[in-house]
Structure formats: C-alpha cells, structure tokens
C-alpha cells in the first residue's frame, strides 16, 4: 500500500464519518436573512406598541401575527437556500441526517410553542419573549450535534438572552430583537465567512 492510498483511505473515512452524522447544507445567508426579518418584525411591533399616540391597549393577536409572519418568512428562506445549497454540494436534502436534525430541533420548539400558547391564553404576556428565546436556544443546542458545532454557541447565546430578558420584564421586545435579530445576523455572518455561502 502506498502512502497516497492510505491518505486517500483515511480522508474517505473522515468524510463519511462527517457526512453520515452531520447535515452541513445550512447556509450562513439564511441566518443573516432570518435576523433581518426578525429586526423588521421587532421594529413593526415597536411602532405598534409605542408609536401610536392613542396609547390604547396592546393588540396581542396582532403582535402574535407579526411573530408568525417573521417565523414563516425565515422558514421559507431557510428551505429555499438549504435546497439550493444541498443541490450544489450533492448532499440529499431529505436523508437520515436532515431528518434527525429536524427532529432534534422540533422537539423543544413544539413543546415551547405549546407552552407559549398556554402563557398567552393565561395572560402572561411579558414572559413570552424570554420563554421563546430559551426554548429556541434549547432547540439549537439539541440540534447542534447534527450540524456545524457553531450552532451550539448560538443556542447558548439565545438562552442567556432569554434569561436576562426574564429578569427585565419591560425589555421583552428589545431582547427578542437582540436574540432573534442581532444574534442571527452575527451567527450567519460567522458561518458565511467560515464555510462560504
């Protein structure tokens, strides 16, 4: 066996270990765009809450509507960009690793989603922003073993933002903007620079 053969063998092993257990078709651009949507959504919510001179009561269903639109826009963007990246790199978009990744991500998200609905129905509005940040952070940490490990740091940062937000009840919107907006933009840019588009 030549040295070159052995090197080839080893690099093929390394690549299989990674490809079989990690989904690496996530793009940094998704993070940046998701962050931008969240910032726009936060701005809209801010003007709705504090911009109107009437100062009438807060329309919760409209706020939830904004959050849902932001989430949908981010999801659709992620789907389109991931699909095109997977196509380029030749990795299937719906395989074992992406299914595992999605399951790990969805479990805390669905639980968190129901929890938030319960909070909303019981009128605990000011705790919703921190709770959404914390559950999102947990989802990212649980998914991080199946994609770039950088996702773990984003998850930790989201949880920290959520915990701080929980201590400062009136700043929920600000921390929501930081957590879902600023942190996503930073994370997206890091991934973009590190692994390319």
């Amino acid at each position: 066996m030549e040295e070159k053969d052995i090197q080839n063998e080893l690099s093929s092993i390394r690549s299989l270990m990674e490809r079989s257990s990690k989904f690496i078709s996530l793009s940094g651009l998704t993070g940046i765009l998701a962050g931008v949507y969240a910032l726009a959504g936060s701005a809209a919510a801010y003007f709705m809450l504090y911009g109107s001179s009437t100062g009438s009561e807060v329309n919760i269903s409209l706020l939830v509507g904004i959050a849902v639109v932001v989430m949908l826009a981010a999801l659709i963007t992620a789907l389109i960009l991931t699909k095109s990246k997977a196509k380029k790199s030749g990795q299937p978009i719906w395989d074992r690793t992406s299914r595992t990744l999605l399951f790990q991500l969805a479990t805390p998200l669905v639980i968190g989603g129901f929890f938030i609905l319960i909070l909303l129905s019981r009128g605990y509005y000011d705790i919703v922003a921190p709770v959404s940040l914390i559950f999102y952070g947990l989802a990212l940490i649980s998914a991080s073993s199946f994609t770039y490990s950088d996702v773990r740091y984003l998850g930790i940062a989201e949880i920290l933002a959520g915990l701080i937000a929980a201590c400062l009840p009136t700043y929920g919107l600000l921390f929501w903007a930081i957590g879902f907006g600023v942190l996503h933009v930073i994370y997206g840019s890091v991934v973009y620079l590190k692994y390319g588009k």
Binding site: M1, E3, I6, Q7, E9, L10, S12, I13, L16, M17, R19, S20, S21, P92, D95, R96
Partner: protein
C-alpha cells in the same frame, strides 16, 4: 523491525467494509437504505459486505418492520469498534514508517 502490515485487519481489506464501519462507529444505528444512498453502491454489493462484517461479529443486525416495509438497521459491536480503531492505528503507523524512509 516489525512490519505493521500484519496489524491491518483482513476484514477491512475491502474498502467498502471499512467505509461501512466508519459510518457505524459514529452513528448508533444506520439503516440499509441510508447506507446504500450514502455509499452509492448496489443492494447486492452492500448486502454481501454487511454479511461479511456480521460474520466477523463486527456488526449487529436489527430487523424490524415500518408498516409493511422491512427496515434493517445495523449497529457496530464493541469488538467491531475495537477492530476499527486498531486498523486505523495500523494505517497511521504505516504512514509514519513510510515517511521515515
């Protein structure tokens, strides 16, 4: 001087077997179709090498049904993981030795 060629595991002489093993050491279980997709090989080829690894007791087979479709999962045994590690160590030594020449 000891020749580390002897330390290379005969069971891993075939490249596909080594590749299968490298997937199974990082994943608890892996199913037949996902293996096939990832390695880009034919059913028969994959099945025969899986059988070979099973004979060496390097992997365990779990058969079950998903609805009506059979779903076969494979898992690396402790013996298999050990053998894989020794094989990689031997490859590493070979490289070192050839560099020393």
């Amino acid at each position: 001087m000891k020749v580390p060629f002897e330390k290379l595991d005969k069971a891993f002489e075939n490249r596909l077997r080594l590749q299968i093993m490298s997937i199974l050491v990082v994943n608890d279980r892996y199913d037949f179709n996902s293996l096939k997709e990832l390695l880009d090989v034919t059913d028969g080829n994959l099945a025969s090498h899986l059988k070979g690894l099973e004979k060496e007791e390097y992997i365990m087979v779990h058969k079950s049904f998903l609805g009506r479709k059979p779903n076969t999962n494979y898992e690396a045994t402790t013996k298999g993981k050990q053998a894989f590690k020794l094989h990689l160590d031997a490859l590493e030594q070979l490289i070192k030795q050839q560099k020393g020449k």
